[in-house]
């Protein structure tokens, strides 16, 4: 096997100024986090709204939310990304289209597309979790809210959602981790996030095993770190006696 192992490769210069290959990975990680966090904000807001709609006593609203979920869950992420990146800009009104295609840098337009795509894609999953959380609550909660003279929005805001969110922290955590992993599709429309940088470093240095090992380590650490963080959050917000935290 004629392969030159060289773990020092990350500290070698890329030939551009003072830059080392490690800097590429750091920049890639930065994009990955930027995509995932922005996408997550959209997913959480829209997903919560849709999750509420799926449980309200109105057939039409619930139907709209159900359609949304079915569409976004049954089309592959990559197809959705291509639709957002290649098709949607062409459908925009002309000034917006020109702005997207000409004024924005390629990185920015790719970033916007992937954030919207991941946000809407993940919203469908968040919606299902929120719905499950709300439906897991005893029906008496809703009735008690009505009996106390709360209006429906108040019941959701003050009674149902605060409890539902506490229940669904574990599945939401896994969706949160998924958005980080899914952000790697951005590499396919030219955004230089972690995977794209890894590929580039592997091709430039010919040390592909080292490059991909570092990338997996970064993803692995990111995952573990976020999971521990979310466990802390879960413990912190737990209402004593309501839900057993980490219990079996």
């Amino acid at each position: 096997m004629n392969y030159n192992w060289d773990w020092g490769v990350f500290f070698r210069s890329t030939g551009i100024g003072e830059e080392t290959y490690l800097d590429w990975f750091v920049a890639g990680l930065g994009w990955t986090i930027a995509v995932a966090l922005a996408g997550w904000i959209i997913a959480l807001l829209l997903g919560t709204l849709l999750g509420i709609l799926r449980t309200v006593p109105n057939r039409w609203l619930a139907g709209i939310a159900t359609c949304y979920v079915e569409i976004f869950r049954n089309v592959p992420l990559l197809v959705q990304l291509f639709l957002w990146y290649f098709l949607v800009p062409d459908l925009l009104p002309e000034p917006l289209e020109l702005w997207f295609k000409q004024d924005l840098s390629p990185a920015t337009s790719a970033y916007l597309s992937v954030v919207v795509c991941l946000g809407l894609f993940t919203a469908a999953r968040v919606c299902e979790q929120v719905r499950t959380g709300i439906q897991a609550l005893p029906r008496g909660q809703l009735a008690a809210g009505h009996a106390l003279g709360f209006r429906l929005p108040q019941i959701y805001k003050d009674i149902l959602l605060p409890q539902a969110f506490r229940i669904i922290i574990p599945p939401l955590t896994s969706e949160f981790l998924n958005i980080f992993k899914n952000s790697s599709v951005a590499s396919l429309i030219g955004l230089m996030e972690l995977l794209a940088q890894t590929k580039q470093a592997a091709e430039f240095t010919a040390n592909l095993f080292e490059a991909f090992t570092l990338a997996t380590l970064i993803y692995f650490t990111l995952n573990m770190g976020l999971m521990l963080l979310m466990r802390l959050v879960e413990k912190k917000v737990a209402v004593p006696g309501l839900i057993a935290v980490g219990g079996k």
């Binding site: 049954n74 590499s187 396919l188 991909f212 997996t216």
Partner: protein, 221 residues
């Protein structure tokens, strides 16, 4: 929008779909086999085996599928050369199958593990009382029952895999999505072909998940 160009392109698209289905089938079969092995390892009393399987699962579940596909595309030919000592040409298809199989095994392992754990302890006890070895208990008593219980989940995961096969676009394999995209580009109607691809994926996955839901109701006792 003019969808008339799609009709003459259908045979080519069908070939892409066949590749997609092959990838999915091999991924599911290999993934379930390896996943079951991992699940049995995870539940075994041997600490070393259990930890080994747990590490495998945690590792693959924390990295993106796209990373695995890309990495294996580079690494599989390399490893084969190291093992066999000669240049063995492997296409993107083989490396993708290996990637899917190993990646999905981690997810299938968790489904199978939950399935095995859902079988009452008494079943194992009774089998042992009848003088069966651990292997016989698993093979003849526990796994057949567990698989019946987890069929809907395994099928659901297969539908997800069907959608995920589109990621082989990254290594240039001509699956359904790539076939649609390249044909659309050649003809100059990328949008129509992209929308068509999305519709096909949607129809197949949606219909399949409806069937799985019905099956789930029928299997539920």
């Amino acid at each position: 929008m003019d969808f008339s160009a799609i009709l003459p392109a259908l045979p080519g698209l069908w070939e892409g779909m066949l590749t997609t289905l092959q990838l999915m089938l091999l991924g599911v079969l290999g993934g379930v086999l390896l996943g079951t092995l991992l699940a049995v390892m995870r539940l075994s009393h041997n600490r070393l085996l259990a930890n080994l399987a747990a590490t495998y699962v945690n590792y693959f579940r924390s990295i993106p599928l796209l990373l695995v596909i890309t990495w294996f595309y580079f690494a599989v030919p390399f490893l084969l050369r190291a093992i066999t000592g000669e240049d063995t040409p492997v296409g993107a298809f083989t490396s993708c199958v290996v990637a899917f199989l190993m990646f999905e095994a981690a997810y299938f392992c968790e489904i199978v593990r939950a399935g095995i754990q859902s079988i009452p302890k008494g079943q194992m006890g009774a089998a042992q009382a009848l003088g069966m070895t651990h292997g016989q208990c698993m093979r003849l008593i526990i796994l057949p029952q567990a698989f019946r219980k987890m069929t809907p989940l395994l099928l659901q995961q297969s539908i997800i895999l069907f959608q995920d096969t589109s990621l082989v676009y990254a290594v240039g394999l001509m699956d359904f999505l790539n076939a649609a995209r390249s044909r659309g580009d050649i003809i100059g109607q990328p949008h129509e072909f992209l929308i068509f691809a999305g519709l096909v994926y949607f129809t197949v996955s949606f219909a399949a998940s409806l069937l799985v839901k019905r099956l789930q109701k029928r299997l539920a006792v």
